[in-house]
Amino acid sequence: MEPQTNGLATAEKYYNQYGSRAKDLKESGKKVIGYLSALGPVEILTAAGVIPLRLKGNVSEAITKGDAYMETVVCPFVRNVFDAAVKGRYDFLDGMVLPHQCDSIDRTNDVWSDVLKLPYWHFLNVPHVTDDPSIEFMKEILRVFIGTLEKFTGTTITDEAIAQAVKAHNENRRLMRELYALRTANPPLISGTEMMKVLVAAMSLPVQESSALIESVTKEVKERPSSKDMRKRIMIIGDQIDDVAVIEAIEGAGAWLVMDDLSIGSKMYWQDVDATQDPVQGIAERYLRKLKIPTTYVADGNNYEENLEARFGHMKKYIDEFKVDGVILFIYKYCDPYGFEVPAVKSFIESTGASVLYLEDEYSTSALPRAKTRIEAFLEMIA
């Protein structure tokens, strides 16, 4: 592991050469498994001794090969990642795990598996409700997943190893939250663009290296001279936004992105896995009950308002804690789960007094100029 003296530069490097560290580790004999979405149980992959690599696409690249297998009705993010994989970007992987987050993943799983033909493949059948039977089901499917990994790696994954991995990932989350906390300052100690690079780099590294990177970034941004550049403070909500293009559009228009509710951002880092007697219990609870994603239907309140509070209450806390002036809801076209929630999220956030800009866009920079006008008009509106 290389010594990290300059965290931001290291993050930038891994952001620009996504997956390069995993590729190096693969060459040195490690196994690398790619996974889609915030539902990928990284603790189990780490416990299995494989390197988890969150899959991403490239917003600057047009889909040219994937369309032969997937119609445009499929989520633009899924199609873009698949296109990258078809073009060979992930050829070095030993396998992939696709969790059942949405129809675009679930109904294309066999296409991915058939076209890519990687040595290991697993579809993780995550349930979509949070009741007790679903927790039992989640534990079962995690055990099945563990079994397939044991078979593939030829080693037993002990509960002890899982507990250790849980600790390592919780520590990783704690460190990331510590870095996020530096964004509550006004102006924030780290820009949204820098933060995006750190988030992307972090999800491409083995957990220990990811933690070392985050620590090093935190140290660096704490020590550098603070800025006096006061701007409006924006939070972004969405699924996998994993490129700086959108963030640069926001910050280039004269705001700071200070917080997110993204699936590679706070959604990944805000909730720890509880250390439970059976370590799989804690993992099941974290991914099913604690992780707030629109595909998981939460209805344990006594009425509609309480359900909304359970689903979006954390966003209110972020707005307060990070002193957010405006919220951008950035939803990919054809994304049903997020699309269903738009009116509810919008009115829920507006009830806090913060303004909301709703953008529906591609996983591509091609439509960004149109979004830019809306972002600029939104900032002029809340100025």
Binding site: E360, R370, T373, R374, E376, A377, E380, M381
Partner: protein, 280 residues
């Protein structure tokens, strides 16, 4: 000494310039094309000629619209959303909702005390925009400017169910073949655009007074169709194309006045009346 302020609104189809002092000095409307956008300086020159002014007489210049970044000599860029709101508020202070039907997009803007409180823009395609009307006018062989008056002679608006420009054109051609009158078809097309625009703007809570701006406001048939949709009369400014440019000029004036009351001079971009060079 009189201070003069210019607003340039470079839209996707038309370029608009307004020069003001304490009153309107000149306004000019010309087509935007790939060359025209590059030549924002020429349009500006013409407007200055109209006003009998020189470039150095201008105290502050604000550019807006789709091509706002292509004006090298503008001191500031502001989006057309904010500028339309400002322009309309000065002309029609009772307006709370603006519906702007432009060449390539349509938008709804809510205003309170002259400030934007919410807005929405079409984000899919040409449906509900001026481009839609252009395509249909072309396929019916009717000049765009005559669509409005012709539609008023319709006996019964034809039913056009497609909102997609290409499909609607196809539908119009089919109905023509089946003997439907041109006037009825145009009336049907206006209803279709009005429905599309209404469903877009309805996402904001529409409150009267409603003003219609942009090229669409020059089409009496479309304005009537929108009034039927809204259920009450709408207001149309005397020259609905220039409200964005007017707003830009007014914002320029406000920026200047804000600076001077604070004893400062606004920062100018320092460029002369030159053409954008990054196209070559």
């Amino acid at each position: 000494m009189t201070h003069y302020f210019a607003g340039l609104d470079i839209g996707s189809t038309m370029t608009k310039v307004v020069i003001i002092s304490d009153k309107l000095e000149a306004s000019l409307i010309g087509p935007t094309g790939p060359e025209h956008r590059k030549l924002a300086n020429k349009v500006m020159e013409e407007a200055l000629d109209l006003a009998g002014l020189r470039f150095i007489d201008l105290t502050y210049i604000v550019a807006t619209g789709y091509g706002r970044i292509n004006v090298p000599f503008a001191d500031r860029q502001i989006t057309e959303i904010t500028c339309h709101a400002r322009g309309i508020h000065s002309l029609l202070p009772t307006v709370k909702t603006i519906v702007d039907i432009g060449g390539q997009d349509s938008k709804g803007i809510k205003i309170k005390d002259g400030k934007v409180t919410n807005f929405v823009m079409n984000d899919k395609c040409a449906a509900g925009t001026g481009r839609f009307l252009e395509v249909i006018a072309d396929s019916l062989g009717v000049p765009l400017e005559r669509l409005g008056e012709l539609s008023l002679t319709a006996r019964k608006a034809a039913e056009i169910s497609s909102t997609c420009t290409v499909f609607a054109e196809h539908e119009v051609n089919n109905q023509l073949a089946n003997g439907e009158s041109v006037a009825n078809l145009i009336a049907g097309i206006h209803q279709s655009v009005a429905t599309r625009v209404y469903s877009l703007v309805r996402k904001l809570k529409i409150e009267p007074d409603v003003a219609i701006t942009g090229g669409g406001a020059k089409n009496i048939g479309l304005v009537k169709a929108l009034e039927t949709r809204f259920g009450y009369p709408v207001l149309v400014p005397p020259e609905p194309l220039i409200t964005g440019a007017l707003g830009a000029a007014l914002i320029g004036k406000e920026v200047y006045e804000k600076y001077t009351t604070e004893g400062q001079t606004p920062i100018r971009c320092g460029r002369g009346l030159e053409e954008a060079t990054f196209f070559s």
